[in-house]
């Protein structure tokens, strides 16, 4: 049984380092001791510039990467020791990325992924119909994926993330590179999704202020692997006497969000 049902996600002094050059001692700390608590029913934003450690955090929480030190739990399950239990209740979407097989149609791809979660055919059909409508791909559903534009593939990938109706969903910069209308539509669905069933939780990373402000119940601002602050967007703006979250960030760090860290990391 889960140790605690109070948290959807909890990390305690979570650390992760990477070797700067594989095989050598020199390391970068992508996460340098992160403490977070996310509650069921929340849309929680992790906001930070490129290289802040957002993707690393999501990879650890979604069991793809082991932490170097510290602890992380999803719905009370330890992501290291109980990875399999975690996988039953999560899903993950990386924006700007698209998975799937080019030779299958959109619908077939979503069906393929639904089968990784053991959905029956009828249940899969129902969910796929709904999600296709959400991402506005219903009319494209029988097109082969390698004939789609990258934006459409990204939308398909977004839909894929919801296919198992995950209790905890990780969205890593989900609207990266999508146009404004589509982004808005997807954000609206994220809200709707959590409102529909308050045991659901979404953790989303972004470096768009607007997105965090509009969408998230609470945000954590992180930089170079450290959580600087964590609160409701309105509370943060009030506390730092700032008009936007961007200004909050500049106030905290002394540079703008888009400037990135000094040492250039991976793209995104």
């Amino acid at each position: 049984m889960p140790e605690s049902l109070d948290f959807a996600i909890r990390t305690v002094d979570l650390k992760r380092s990477y070797a700067k050059v594989p095989g050598h001692g020199d390391v970068v700390w992508a996460l340098a001791g992160v403490d977070l608590a996310v509650y069921p029913g929340e849309v929680f934003g992790v906001l930070g510039p490129n290289g802040a450690g957002k993707t690393t955090l999501i990879k650890i929480l979604s069991t793809l990467l082991l932490p170097t030190a510290g602890r992380a739990e999803v719905a009370g399950y330890d992501v290291v020791r109980e990875a399999f239990a975690v996988r039953r209740i999560i899903n993950m979407v990386s924006g700007g990325e698209y998975s799937g097989y080019g030779i299958l149609s959109v619908r077939e791809n979503l069906w393929m992924f639904s089968q990784l979660y053991g959905l029956t055919y009828s249940e899969a059909r129902r969910r796929i119909d709904r999600l296709l409508a959400v991402v506005d791909l219903t009319s494209e559903q029988h097109k082969k994926v390698n004939k789609l534009s990258t934006g459409m593939r990204q939308k398909m990938n977004f839909a894929r993330g919801f296919i198992n109706y995950p209790r905890v969903l990780f969205l890593d910069e989900p609207t990266l590179g999508l146009d404004v209308t589509v982004s808005r539509r997807l954000r609206a669905f994220v809200r709707e999704w959590v409102a529909e069933d308050t045991t659901r939780t979404v953790l989303l990373t972004t470096h768009y202020m607007q997105e965090a402000d509009e969408l998230c119940d609470r945000v954590a601002i992180i930089d170079r692997g450290h959580v600087l602050v964590c609160d409701r967007p309105a509370a943060l703006k009030e506390k730092y006497h700032a008009a936007t979250l961007e200004d909050v960030f500049i106030g905290l760090v002394g540079r703008s969000l888009d400037s990135g860290p000094e040492e250039e990391g991976a793209a995104s």
Partner: protein, 290 residues
């Protein structure tokens, strides 16, 4: 006149620079995963194995004593490595760059002539082929004691024949590269298949006499038929093919030269047409794995 000359010289020089750059890149990509020595061993294990299959086939059929017969197919098989390596090297770059490194479109935008780039990328394959052939020749002569050497000092003839065949392979490779621009990633299978067809038709490991007569007729339209025949006359000293015996050495060279020219035209044509199709359908950055 001088201006034209200068323009040509400039173009040639920049093509040469592209070629050298691409050859360097090709070598890096092919060999950077390990140290050069291991890479060399790795590169020749494949061709040596294929050649040994032929030797064992002779052995199980109880024909190992037939040194000239074995040398005939052994030499043909060894030199054919040039054809398969060059075909692969020139063409496969399209898939690798498009789908693995996803750089094809930048190369296409950047390199002044993509044809030069493709040929340059294949240079590493040419080097590998040379190394493999040398090892096989040494192995055949020293270990298997086959009569493999340049007979009657016909170095020049052998070298001209060799180069013509490699040029024909490069040209066909370009045609293949064109086809790959507009098709899904089938890995190396397309170039290996073409190499397989040529291997069969050119009578690389048997005299074309054993082919059905309609296939023999096609064989005579394949430059590599004359190529392997010419090389074998130099390296084994004799030929055991009755159908090829009627060609004099000069006739072999002439047929090879003409058909190589035809291959060049064909390769460039296929490439040009494919490139048009690719551009009109916007296929330069498609991803097609399954």
């Amino acid at each position: 006149m001088r201006a034209v000359y200068a323009k040509w010289r400039g173009a040639l020089r920049s093509a040469w620079a592209d070629f050298v750059w691409a050859a360097w890149l090709g070598w890096q990509i092919d060999s950077n995963w390990t140290d050069p020595w291991l890479f060399a061993v790795y590169s020749i294990i494949k061709p040596v194995s294929s050649s040994l299959i032929l030797v064992v086939m002779f052995l199980v059929a109880g024909r190992l004593r037939d040194a000239a017969g074995l040398a005939y197919i052994f030499a043909g098989n060894a030199f054919f490595i040039y054809v398969s390596q060059v075909l692969l090297g020139v063409s496969w770059t399209v898939y690798v760059d498009r789908e693995e490194y996803r750089t094809l479109k930048y190369v296409y935008l950047g390199a002044s002539r993509i044809i030069t780039y493709l040929l340059g990328r294949a240079f590493a394959n040419f080097g590998i082929a040379t190394m493999s052939v040398a090892v096989l020749m040494a192995f055949g002569r020293l270990v298997l004691r086959m009569p493999l050497r340049v007979h009657d000092g016909r170095w020049l003839y052998g070298l001209v024949v060799l180069m013509l065949g490699i040029a024909a392979a490069a040209a066909l490779g370009l045609g293949l590269a064109g086809i790959m621009l507009v098709t899904a990633n089938h890995g190396s299978i397309i170039s290996e298949s073409l190499a397989g067809v040529l291997y069969l038709l050119a009578g690389v490991v048997f005299p074309i006499d054993v082919l059905p007569s309609w296939l023999q007729k096609i064989s005579l339209w394949v430059p590599f038929t004359y190529w392997t025949e010419g090389l074998r006359r130099v390296l084994v000293g004799t030929s055991i093919s009755q159908s090829m015996a009627r060609f004099s050495d000069t006739a072999i060279l002439a047929h090879l030269a003409v058909q190589t020219a035809a291959a060049v035209v064909l390769g460039l044509l296929v490439y040009a047409v494919s490139e048009r199709v690719m551009r009109s359908r916007g296929l330069i950055d498609m991803l097609t794995e399954h």
